[in-house]
Subunit: 244 residues, 6 copies
């Protein structure tokens, strides 16, 4: 991307999402299993239901939800060392796991789940930017499937989910305010912001970072407008996928 | 805090910071050493200069800055297990360390530091909410002292620092939009947001989370106003401390 | 599988492989990338080329090849804990990693690779028995693609590969001697044997285990006949895939 | 070993075991304690009985058997780093521990052990090849002593052991097919195979590896003949030792 | 310290302690909290009471006391790597932790504590020699405060403490026998000895080391005289601090 | 040991060592290898010479000496968990390792060793009290053999050893002051003291601990007399062993 001209390197306009695809029932053992693709980014989002909760929650008749995230070693341009081989999980991975878990917990009523743990596993097959937001958007669909599985089996009476949930990134690259950054854009961004919103357009999480060029409050307003537009389109795609 | 009435439990108005104190030269070996107190929160911020850089930066004639953060075991209401005893650093600690390091890197020109590593150590003596933002605000002052120490010794010709930097938290508690949450407020907050800004009021970092109650974009605007007001006051206090 | 009758639970005859599919170029960054499916077992086999060797091999003008293996948490019937989360790699995983690496090293002339490391990453998406042998069979194809990539770029003059290589399992279940066990069969097997052979039918590795019912040398001869038959068919499929 | 001539470097014929010695009651606290020497290889095999089982087996009224293996740092020609100092157990050690445990479990009826754990500790004092097979052969004798100790104390009515059990290595070195490889032979072997058999000559485990020269099925038959001959002699020596 | 002359580098006589200060109630959450300064050495000693005991002590109606010790990274002349970052606790730290715990357990009757765990946390803010002995002397005072807190709340009827307890170092530097070594003296000492005594002058612990110059039994007698003198003065200071 | 009467439980007088045996050349690869037995305590002491030094000593033309210590799992009455399996070394082990290393470094002139590392490995085969002092006494003999090996090979011109070195324990049990405690005595001791001395009777290390009953300075004098008597006898036995 030597020069931005009027166009982004893949021809998108500044407020345009990448091509999106959501495949349900991607693997066969998980209670919910989704392969989400946004541009070249691909993430397997599996949801597992375990009939127990961590020690500190036992006997309270409520559920728990937790998320794990991992890059396959060659999901990236250069091979990334496996965290199991290092023997520890990086700070970046922990931050992403906490973000995914917190976001999904915000739209589920765990008091209605009984003593069950919901495991969200997001494994990135191919990473071209936006893996954490794709994970949230895909995991939401897999979570709906897992909850419906429990309802169909008669284990739950009603859905504990309160709302749709999706996420995207926005940022400032070369002075342009952009929606849904790919890796090449992200690696040059002056400002990088991840936004998680409900189906109603309310904010669940916002995380914005300016490594060298602080941004103004009016730039922030435009970035939030872009995020809101993108998330509305993602929620529409989730809805269509779930209706199939 | 059974009831908010018109007042916060320590009598502050909604847009009021806690009492602030900044003690420079708190310990004697570090190149910069600050004890910062904001209300009952107390953090020792030590800055160390090491005359080498990590392996991946050698030979590029530029510096590095990294931050570590830790709670003393009994800085908290109940004793927190020591991370050295667990043998690993929690996700929360890693997130905070990354936030502090990223924030301070955003206002320093590492190309002007030569091949030196700047270690920021934030050790919390007493934790009553806002330890990460107090760490950033205090570490900035210690960093100025460490940079001046190098200039005084003739090792640097000019300061690599571009701007003042301070941080605070804002949030929504019981429907009230508040500046600078103490622990009791933080633990009940529907929305919790940390903001890092330069002395000019530009945004470096914003991290907002709604665990159960998503918030509107207009609430977000008010929270940002509160943060901006608080950070201006913090920067003023930093300036006064550095002029002593 | 309450009863074996004359048929296996998926209708196969005793000497029949499961349905096989080999997809090349499955992901886009790896120098070789294969998705192999044998029945319900699915493994992504990525091959990465790194232009350096481990410390102990430097300056000898030869290459190195090493393999890593992992189960996605919900590749299994019940969720398997992530090894990165445990902080250590299980004995089972280490055995499999060593087997895959040793097998592939046996058919490559590392003296012809220059100072390069070949990383073999086998990540199991869905596990229904035979994941380690599917990993070897799939990784071989990805390795051919990675080697050809280097030849096409002019970095290697000739292929360092000496032979085809494939692997399968055989075993004794309920008294029947079977080829290519699925998970249900494997979990009830009295004898379980993994065999790795070259395209010429020579033996690279044989690992046979009888947890409770030791087996005779004549049973071993029949098991080897079954393995040889299966591996010939696998090599044929590799050849066809590579000719596409 | 510059040249093989007609003889092996220690003057043995190709189908000859090394000198064997089995010392029972080698240390005084273990329920079974054997020092086994095969040539210069020396292993202390201690068997301990613990009156409980791992969590996942409680309440099932059956026992458990597990094995651990370790090299003393200077059991080897050059000093080997202690795994406790590294903080993790190598893949090689894990493979050997699993092999020893699996082999001994194959000839014991754990349903007759009550809720007890049998710990097999194999600590190599001097390593000159064949340490894993010597561990199995020696541990079997120590296990018989530990079982008899329980019977003598009236804690078991009958022995849960079904059979004798011994192990040896075979291999191809410089084109010669050899029994019971010492370290010098093993380090040059084209093929290396470990075989575990019962007293009746049935196969419990077979693990054969060809790092560079794949072997034919007829070579494999000869290797198995050699192994069978050696194991018969080892079982005879175990029997004599136990009758003392 | 190029030359000792008749004086120590800070002007003290050979049998003189450094300036001592004991601040009680240093932080507000711990049941006992002391900041002790001996010369430039500063340690925060916090005592926490937990209403349970480790698993192996449950149901015995007795208490437990354990100690942890840590250096803040820049408590030292050069920055010390954080043990939490290394992922393990050094041998030196473990030795000190064990010494502090053992010393304090020697003057408390744990049978009178009920099923409670007493955590002693000694965190060194500034290290100029003698941190382990300052930790013991300071922790004793914090322990008295924590015990009195329990008595005041009616949770204990009488104090389980049997005696005063304090510690200091002695050593031989440049042929001189000295009391209470600072870092500069300690780093040049031929002999370094730590002594822990009760208020009655009885010995609890003695640890003496001569890295290169072994010492005579008569030198040892003089060192013990010095230690006894210093500890009497420390106990007097503890008593005065507790009477405030 | 319900009652002490006039005799110790093994019939020794209070100032009598246990039966001692020192076997040189116990294993064949180590440069020095000793099996030491004191009563039922048995330790293998191997000394290895490595032709390099740790990174921080390179280029200074001096050597390094370090010690490791380990209990075989069933050296103890009940099985001790292997530290490699725990993944970390206990505080007790680290203390002992540091003591052994420090003691042996005190009688060797490392400036005369060239850039070599001396590894002392003390592996306890059977533990009946006094394993750390037996390790020091045995390792000294193995160290002499390793040094002589280097002199014989012409790699060293003269011995870097300055003195003999041995160690023993003394203590107070049931009011009696005893030399060389066995495990049963040690586990009941009110005072336990380890003493390391040179062949000339000078003190290298003294470590005394009173868990519940502090001791007087006059008791300490008697304990030192006992230790001095025992160490003289141990040095005599070392001398005789080395003259064989």
């Amino acid at each position: 991307m030597d020069k931005m001209d009027n166009k982004r390197n893949d021809g998108r306009s500044n407020d345009q999402l990448r091509a999106l695809s959501i495949t349900r029932n991607f693997t066969k053992y998980a209670e919910g299993s989704v392969l989400i693709k946004t541009g070249a980014t691909q993430v397997i989002c599996n949801v597992s239901i375990e009939n127990s909760v961590p020690y500190f929650l036992r006997g309270q008749n409520k559920g728990w939800l937790t998320a794990e995230y991992s890059l396959l070693p060659r999901s990236t341009h250069n091979r990334t060392v496996r965290e199991a081989a290092r023997g520890k999980i990086s700070g970046r991975t922990k931050e992403i796991q906490r973000l995914i878990g917190r976001s999904l917990r915000s739209i589920i009523d765990l008091d209605k789940m009984g003593e069950r743990t919901i495991w969200i596993d997001c494994d990135v097959i191919q990473a071209d930017g936006g893996t954490r937001t794709a994970s949230i958007t895909g995991a939401y669909v897999a979570l709906v499937d897992a909850v419906n599985y429990l309802i169909d089996k008669g284990e739950l009476e009603e859905s504990p989910l309160n709302s749709y949930l999706a996420a995207t990134s926005v940022g400032i690259v070369d002075g342009e305010l952009l929606l849904d950054l790919c890796y090449e854009e992200d690696s040059q961004a002056q400002v990088d912001m991840n936004v998680v919103m409900t189906g109603e357009g309310k904010i669940i999480e916002i995380q914005g970072t300016a490594e060298q060029n602080p941004f103004t409050r009016s730039e922030m307003t435009v970035l939030m407008d872009l995020a809101e537009k993108g998330i509305k389109e993602l929620v529409l795609a989730q809805r269509e996928s779930l209706e199939e």
